[in-house]
Every structure is written in C-alpha cells, then in structure tokens.
Symmetry: none
Amino acid sequence: MTTSTLRGLAALRENERDARRTLIMDAACSLFAKKDFKQVTVREIAKQAGVGVGTIYNYYASLDELFFDIFLKHASDIQQRLYSQAQQKNATLHDLCALYVEYLCTHIPFYQIMSHFMLGGDLMPAATEKLNHIMRQLMDHLEDTLKKTGPCEDSRITAHALFAALNGIMISYARYPGRNDDEILAHTRRLALRMADIFAKAPAG
Amino acid sequence: MTTSTLRGLAALRENERDARRTLIMDAACSLFAKKDFKQVTVREIAKQAGVGVGTIYNYYASLDELFFDIFLKHASDIQQRLYSQAQQKNATLHDLCALYVEYLCTHIPFYQIMSHFMLGGDLMPAATEKLNHIMRQLMDHLEDTLKKTGPCEDSRITAHALFAALNGIMISYARYPGRNDDEILAHTRRLALRMADIFAKAPAG
Amino acid sequence: MTTSTLRGLAALRENERDARRTLIMDAACSLFAKKDFKQVTVREIAKQAGVGVGTIYNYYASLDELFFDIFLKHASDIQQRLYSQAQQKNATLHDLCALYVEYLCTHIPFYQIMSHFMLGGDLMPAATEKLNHIMRQLMDHLEDTLKKTGPCEDSRITAHALFAALNGIMISYARYPGRNDDEILAHTRRLALRMADIFAKAPAG
Amino acid sequence: MTTSTLRGLAALRENERDARRTLIMDAACSLFAKKDFKQVTVREIAKQAGVGVGTIYNYYASLDELFFDIFLKHASDIQQRLYSQAQQKNATLHDLCALYVEYLCTHIPFYQIMSHFMLGGDLMPAATEKLNHIMRQLMDHLEDTLKKTGPCEDSRITAHALFAALNGIMISYARYPGRNDDEILAHTRRLALRMADIFAKAPAG
DNA sequence: TATGAATGAGCTTTCATTCAT
DNA sequence: AATGAATGAAAGCTCATTCAT
C-alpha cells in the first residue's frame, strides 16, 4: 500500500466522518423545528439521524459541542450569503440588514443557540477563538458596507452597534406573543429596513 | 377585636406574605449570579432563602411563575428609574440609553429571563397581558423621548427599533468571552451612547 | 353554675363536636364522587368542609382514621337499611341481596375504603374491634335470613359465603371497563338476584 | 456473520430482555410481601432487582405498566393451572374453586393489583382489551365446568356469579384482622369448598 | 467504529402532618 | 378550638453520558 493510497483512504475517511457529522447536525436541526433546542434530547437526535446514541459521542464530546457546531455551520452559512450579496452590484446597507434579519427570523434555532452561548454557555477556549474569528469577519463586512454608505469616523464601533441592533430585533420581536409567523416576519423586516435607514444617516461619530 | 384591628392584622399578614415573596425572589436572584437561571433548582433557592422547599410552592405555583415574577419586579424597577430620570430637567436620549443598558448590564439574570420568555417560554395568557402592558409603557416612554429629541415622522416604529437595538447590545456583548465585567460594562456603555447618537439623528422616516 | 348546667354544656359541646365530624365526613364523601378516595387530600377536604386544615386534625388523628370513620358510618347505614327491610313482612333473601349490592353499587367509595382496610390497611386494635362487631351483626342478619329461607345445617359458614359472594360482585363488576353506570347497576343487580337464587337452594351442608 | 447467527443473537437478546423483565417483576413481587403494592416505589424495586432506577424505565414506560404486566403474568399462570387441572380425570367444581382461591390466597399482591385495576385504575385501551380477553377465557372455563357439574340454563350468568363469589372470598377474608395466615388459608379454603357445594346445586335459572 | 442498555444524580412537585398564633 | 403557613421526605420520572459488546 503506497503513501498516496493511504492519504486517499484517510481523505475518504475524513469525508465519511464529515458526512456523519452533517447527518447528525441535520437531524438535530430538523428537531428544532418542533421544539426549543434546549428540549431536544440525544435520544431524539440519534433516532432522527438513524444512528445509535453512542455514535453521536464518537463525533461530539458533548451535546454542547454539537450545538456549537450547528452554530458554526449557520454562522458560516450567513457569512457566505452576505459575501455573495456583496459581490452583486449596488448591494446596499438595506439589503444587508434585510438579509441578516430575514436569515435569523427563518432560523430561530440558530438564534436560540447563539443566545445560549452568548448569555450563559461556557465555551471552551477553542470555541471562543472560532467565535471571535467569525465575529471579526462579520464585523469587517459590516464596517465595509457602512463605509461605502457614507463617511463614518468611528466605523468600527458603529459596526458593533449595527450588529447589536440587528440581533436585538430578533430577541425583541422574533416570538412576540400573539402574533403569527407572517406578522413577525413583516415586522422584523420593517424594523430591519428602518434600522438601515437610521444607520445610513449615522453621524460621523 | 375591632374592625380596624382586623384590618391591621390582614395588612400585617399581607406584608409578611410580600416579605416572604421578596425573600424567595432575592434568593433566586442571588443564585443567578453564579449560574444560568435555567440551572437554578428549587432546592437551591429554598436553601438560599432559608425556607423549606414546600414553602416556595405556597407562594408560587411553579418555578416559571417565580421567574416571571422576578421579571415583573425588574421590569417595574427599570420603568421606575426611567420615569424618575425623565422627571429631571434635561434628561436626554443619551441618558435614557445609558440608564437602560447599564441596568441590563448589571442585572444580567433579568435579561436572561426576559430572553427566556421572549424566545421560548410559553407564557400564560395573564402573563402575556402583563408583558404587553409593560412593553407598551416602555415603548411610550421611548417614543416620547425620541419626539423630544427631534422630529420623527414614524416615531413608533423608531421606538421599536431603539428598544431592539438596546436589547441587542446586551445579547451581543454582555458576556463576550475573554473580557471581564468592567470591560464589558465600558463597551456596552459606549455602544449605548453611540446608539443614542445614531437614533438622535434618525431620519424622519 | 350548677352541675346540671355543666352537664348541659358538655352535651352541647359533644353535639357540636359530632356536628363538626359529620361536616368533615360529608365533605370527604362529596369529594369521593369526583375522584378515587386515595387521591383526595386533606386540603381538599378542609376546603370543601369550610374549615381549616388543622381543624381536621382536632377531630381525627390521621386521614386513615377519618376514612375509617366514614367506613363505620356507611356500615351502620347499611345495617340500618337491612334491619328496616327485615321489619317488613315477607322480606326475602332476594330483597336482602338486592339491597346490599345496590347499596355498594351506589356507594363505591365506601366499597373502596372497605377494600383498602381489608386488603392493606393496618387497623388499630380499637378499629379492629369495631369492625368485628359490625361484621358479627351483619353475619347474624344474613344467617337469620338464610334460616328463614330454608333448612341449612352449617348456616354460619353459608352466611360467610353469601357475604363474600355479594362483596365479590362489586370487586368483579363495579367498574367493568367499557360499560356505563346503568349497565353496571343492571348487571350487578342481576347477579345479586341470581346469587340469592343459588343460596336459597344451598344444600344443607 | 451468517443470517442464522444473527437470528441467534436476536433471540439471545430477546431472551435477555425477557430475563430482565422477569428480574424486575420478581423484585417487585418480593416487595409486595412486605407492603401494599401501592406503597412500593421505583427505587425499592430497582434496589431489590439490583439494577438502576433508569433501567426499569427501559423496560416499562411507567410503574402502572409494570404492575399490569405482573397482573398479566399471574393471570396467565392461574389460567395455566386451571387448564392443567381440567386435563386430569375427574376434576370437579370443588377442585376448581379450591385451586382458584388457594392461588389468590397465596398470591395476595396479584389480588391487590387486580382490585386496583378493577376498582380504580385507568387502564389504557390495549390493557383493557387484554384484561377482557383473559376474563373471557376464565369465564369460558368456569362455564364449561358448571355445565359438566349439572344442568344449568343460564350458565353464563352463573359463571359470572361464581367468579364474583370466589373473588369475594378474598376481599372479605384474605386479611381478616386478628387471624394468622394459616387460619385464613383454612377459612378461605373451607369457604371455597362450600361455595362449590352451593354452586353445584345451583338451580337451573 | 457503532451500538444501545445501564446508570444514577437530579429534577419538579405533592401532601400529610405540625405548631405558633 | 381553629387556623393555615411551613415543612421536608418522598414520589415518579428524565436524560446526558458511559462502556461492554
């Protein structure tokens, strides 16, 4: 058996491993549609994924790690979308805000997980680093867009504020009691656009 | 025994009852300092409060009810502070934003509970109504302040946006991993002020 | 204050005490209509009776004692009815059986309590003695009726058998799943009459 | 691994599973000797069985299900015995009655559980069906024996009456206060035989 | 590597009983 | 005598995690 064959096998195995992880993540996500992510149990995930309970622990050291992985996947997903949007001509701050909030609004579990880790979860150092990396990228993107929109002296802090403001729309209105999904989507979208308006006119600082 | 004596006794008992409720709430809050509010158990609260487990159920039908009561108490508290601030001369949007965010920042458990109920908690109808009432009051207050700050056509939606933006500061930075409490307080305060700047210049809509 | 006055007062108090006990028993019985007697709580009884929880313990040392008192009351009640029936001309074994089973069938909680004490309850000596006394009276009554019905050498054991047989109708059919109350009453009644037939022709032994 | 090996393994597992269920049932039954079956707790059963608490819930969804399973096992057991007895030559109604009552008398917990489900327990539909099935079988057996014993027009209702009468012996005398086990066994046996006498001479109806 | 039965600490909640008023 | 708030042991049950196969 040659070295290159070994490398090929290893790659294959790595691929398989990733496929399994994705399988498990997807199973978990599909359960989030039905219930609060904190109520989803390992057993349910295993059943949904069609694997044994123990198998999950071959891929994740704990449930929290699985949840964090799901978070990363979504974060990467949204980054991708924002980047794609930016590639298009004339993409404005409005578009960015709308895209971001719509994404959150249609991926509530992602938002719940993010909240979980930001408000109470104790992340491991490795996770913290990854989180910071993602945040920095996102913040860069926001800052760039803000700069294109208008002059802004302290653009970094404004980017932070914008990020906060958009997240806040979710926490404040994503499950407003007594409103249905369509009403909520309409309201959050409207707020996102208003937020873009306001930040577009943000004073130089 | 005269009528007035009876009334006195009843009042005393009512006071005592309130004192006990406060005792229990305070015990719960003090535990929130150490762990996520969802991880706090009845037993711990009872021990902290120096009462029996059963006693708690003499005052609250369930843990969720206790948590909601804590939420109400804090919501009322912050309303009070905002109102007091507004009474003072020259209270600005900056002051309001700073006060609100500082309050949240120094009462994280309150924010966690709010998030819990807003993101996933199933509130009973009575609770929902109370929640809506509080929200309306707060929104009125924000709207008033915005109007005083400058012309604003669609001031209600702007108030909603401001509320969301301030809450978002918390979710986004209140427990930013790798920073200590002072740094976080400084950062959130700075963001609150920047947010006030931005909203003060909000376009008429 | 004279001795006779004191005696009058004492009697008054005794009456009042009995009235209270009856009040409590009736409250408990009215709750039995809604749920299994084992599920009825002291709190509920107190509320239904319009007295404080502690008051019940002024009249009964424990819940079991209350239940036993209820049992005694019903036992006495049914004795009374059987006795009245016997006073009438031409009262037959059929009448006795029908009356007994109908009584049980319309007083299921009584039957449940009886079962509770016979199958598992540890009675205090005093209670045991009372129970035996009642049983002896009932057995005498059954024996007398059997003797009137026909010659029967070992009439005592036959009385025991009849008593057992009638109770058995209840345990076996009082809550037969899938049948409504009327059907059950009809079936148990029919069985009671058949039982009377059979025992009326009981061999001399 | 061949198909037959797999089948072997599956069978082994099924056997193991049954063995575990039996282990748990036996543990529960052995506790019934000491206390009312309603007072037996999951923890006690687990300890007695030498397994963890959670293990029990791997085999039964609830305590009630375990109890019902115990009931089924005993019901099946007694059916078996009655059937075996019937196979022998000259098995009479006396033999049947004696066997049934003796079985109940030496398996009081079974009788308690039966009473529990018959008097108050809410059975699931599936359980009700099983219960009815068993009852029908037993009743068929009683009816057959009665027919062999003598002419009997309405033999079904007489079978019902006999079943009730035998059960009644238990509820009425199985734990008669003040008598020891031997006395009780002797008395119930005597009553069972008397009952057989009486039913053997049952009028045609 | 995949499995899933076993585990037991841990949860919320109930409720008979007590006792200070 | 009447009260009802306080109590805490005890209940049934859950579920993340482990580990022998």
